[in-house]
């Protein structure tokens, strides 16, 4: 459209990125397929695989149900009590699990619910003999509800806050009671969101790796992803890993299709921002009920953070930070997270811009539309082919070429970059669309192009979303265990890997200290990455 050669370069670069993504995922898939051919399909449907599949679906279903059942009263209480001191902090707390690495959260939950945890100590003191075991289905459900209840509650709250303020005044004027308001006003609003929320949570739980790895109890409580990892890492049974990978891709593909056609994706959306007055929240009974639910949510979500902090502070942090192993892990983590985050953001920015350029042409041919569509789909390819499956494919692909460890860093960087892509895309796409709508024509008419445009026009207004996306991608890569797990070794020990091996060798104090440090780094980065998570001001005209 404007500045033809520059635009052609952008599109070419984006096509290169796109090709790279497709090749990376395609090679992994081809490796899996090729090897399944030579091994035969006899191992495909044995009892173990069925058991694992059943457990995957069972735990995801239960996790989803529990998260939603818990989220309904919590979101309702938050909506009904729209202005109590500390409400904003409670909301911020509910956003925190999102930024916490799964491994760190697992450790926090073990501190509370584990054999040596607060709860069992209390129960033993009360004279109870049988301690609660956090390992197995119970622990997995606990962890999934810890992560997903706040997410579901926040999405429901946004739905409830989108209800027009007149509804509450009308309800108060008509004298509708709390039950009638729930039945006729609140529940219809929540019900409309449920398919989207449930689908999202189910997807997250069905593909959860780290939590099941740390809290699952052996083959009885293992999901497909963890089974893939175990098949390659411990049993070295490629056919089984391949069958499981195929199963996982079929499962995620089905889920994605169901989500696409049945459920609109939930949004936090914008609310009017003004305080909504809820007359039904004023009575003593509703205050008591809401207060109770909010207190339960506060304790449930807050305690693991406190546990991580207190036990982390008891560790000998100074010695830990001085250890060469920590230095190496920190350097390794940085060496993986920085390039992967930078690649992710650069690819997303290039592809979004190219997509816009291609679609802005007056005559959009079939190739252009195909290109634009593929760009859109490629950013969420990682949802279809989860990190562990990608890792499995590449593991099998590079093994014949020699030592897996030599290639490992590159594969992990690439997988981490792909993992961050959906999030990066979601931050950048609206910001870049607004920016383009505002400046594109003006810059073109003034002849501001190339580096000048980057420096004077693009960078100043896109700096914030770019840094936010980078920060979020960094947090994701730093906290990741899924991609590293398959390739991790003495040479590729990232912070989560170090933490995981310290947990495995029962060096609990070290693990607690490491968890605190890793958790802090990731939380700070996530907060920076989501700081201004409001819709960009002045949506494009």
């Amino acid at each position: 459209m404007f500045g033809a050669s520059e635009n052609r370069m952008t599109i070419a670069a984006a096509a290169f990125c796109l090709g790279g993504i497709l090749l990376f995922v395609g090679l992994a898939g081809a490796a899996l397929l090729a090897q399944s051919g030579e091994s035969g399909a006899n191992g495909l449907f044995d009892a173990y695989i069925w058991r694992v599949t059943r457990f995957t679906l069972l735990q995801a279903g239960l996790s989803t149900g529990l998260s939603i059942l818990f989220a309904i009263p919590v979101s309702r209480a938050l909506a009904r009590q729209a202005a109590f001191p500390g409400r904003i902090w409670l909301l911020r707390l509910m956003a925190l699990p999102l930024g916490l690495p799964a491994l760190v959260a697992a450790l926090g939950l073990i501190e509370i619910w584990g054999r040596q945890g607060f709860l069992n100590k209390g129960l033993t003191a009360l004279g109870l003999q049988q301690p609660i075991s956090v390992y197995g289905l119970f622990g997995i459900l606990l962890a999934h509800v810890f992560f997903n209840m706040p997410l579901a509650a926040r999405l429901m709250l946004a739905g409830l806050e989108r209800i027009p303020g007149e509804y509450w005044r009308t309800a108060a004027n008509l004298g509708m009671g709390s039950l009638a308001i729930f039945r006729f006003v609140e529940w219809p609003a929540i019900r409309g969101l449920l398919p989207g929320i449930a689908g999202l949570v189910f997807m997250l739980c069905a593909t959860s790796f780290t939590l099941v790895l740390t809290l699952g109890g052996g083959p009885a409580a293992s999901t497909i992803e963890v089974a893939i990892y175990q098949a390659l890492r411990f049993d070295f049974d490629p056919p089984r890993a391949i069958a499981l990978s195929a199963l996982q891709v079929v499962l995620t593909a089905t889920l994605l299709l169901v989500l696409k056609f049945l459920a609109p994706s939930p949004e936090e959306g914008e609310t009017s921002g003004r305080v909504i007055r809820r007359f039904d929240g004023l009575s003593r009974l509703s205050r008591f009920a809401d207060g109770t639910w909010l207190a339960v949510a506060l304790v449930f979500v807050g305690l693991p953070f406190i546990a991580i902090a207190t036990s982390g502070l008891q560790a000998d942090l100074r010695r830990l930070v001085g250890e060469p192993a920590f230095h190496r892990a920190l350097a390794t983590s940085a060496a993986i997270a920085l390039p992967s985050a930078a690649i992710s953001v650069a690819m997303a920015a290039l592809m979004i811009r190219a997509q816009r350029l291609v679609l802005a042409r007056r005559h959009r041919g079939m190739p252009a539309r195909l290109f634009a569509g593929t760009v859109g789909a490629s950013t969420s390819l990682i949802l279809l082919v989860p990190p562990v499956v990608l890792g499995a494919g590449w593991f099998l692909l590079v093994r014949p070429l020699g030592d897996v460890a030599r290639f490992a860093p590159f594969v992990v960087v690439a997988i981490n970059a792909l993992m961050a892509l959906p999030f990066v895309h979601r931050v950048l796409a609206p910001a870049m669309a607004t920016h383009a709508a505002r400046t594109e024509r003006l810059a073109a008419s003034l002849g501001i192009a190339g580096l000048h445009r980057l420096r004077w026009i693009d960078w100043p207004s896109l700096r914030k979303p770019l840094l936010m996306a980078l920060s979020f991608a960094l947090a994701l890569s730093l906290g990741d265990l899924g991609a590293v797990a398959l390739f991790g070794s003495q040479d590729l020990a990232t912070l989560p890997w170090l933490l995981y091996s310290r947990m495995g060798s029962y060096r609990t104090a070290d693990a607690a200290g490491l968890a605190l440090l890793l958790g802090l780094i990731c939380l700070v980065l996530t907060m920076l990455g989501t700081a201004g998570e409001k819709p960009p001001e002045g949506r494009s005209a």
Partner: protein
Amino acid sequence: MTSLALSLKDVKLRFETTALAFDCAVPAGQIVAVVGASGSGKSTLFNVVAGFETPEAGEVLIFGEDMAGRMPAERPVSVIFQENNLFAHLDVATNVGFGISPSLSLDASDRGRIDEALARVGLAGFGKRLPPTLSGGERQRVAVARALVRHRPLLLLDEPFAALDPGMRAEMRDLIVDLHGEEGNTILMITHHPDDVKDLADGVLFLDQGRIVAHDALDRFLARRDLAAINRFLGNDEIR
């Protein structure tokens, strides 16, 4: 005209940037237009009467009864807003049904009353329709029907025609006048349109900067030239 529908005595409220003070006495059975620039306190006045806002000082009396501590539903008041009067996911009859029972326990005779009310506002047979399938004017008529089955003697209309085109405004004005004739209730109506005032009102409450600066019968109000804000509202500046 001896009894008072509404009387506000030294009612005071303070917000971050403004302080409001209301004093007035509205006789029963009248239609009173509430006018004034945006931000002059019209909506706050309504919120105080309906019980959505609690004044810091003063008395709110409705038909002689003190409203202090009474929840919105316990006041002899119905409210119709500019929009969003209906629950969009529930059908028209259900929305009207809330006027009879807020928990929606309705028997056959109640359903008869709902149909009757819908017929009175010219929407016979609309019971099963969902609000989004209606026009803006039809939705407001449903809200009027709900106020009809509720039978509260004081009706607050908060710019009920603001979202309607001129033809529909006139129709709604006629409907309000008809129903007022039949019900004999007292109506307070916020409006921005001098036409609404001239066609409907018996009296006018004029607000400026958080105070009721004029409370006149219609003909006196229309004849006034002493306040700049009123001249601006009536367009008297342009005539000269």
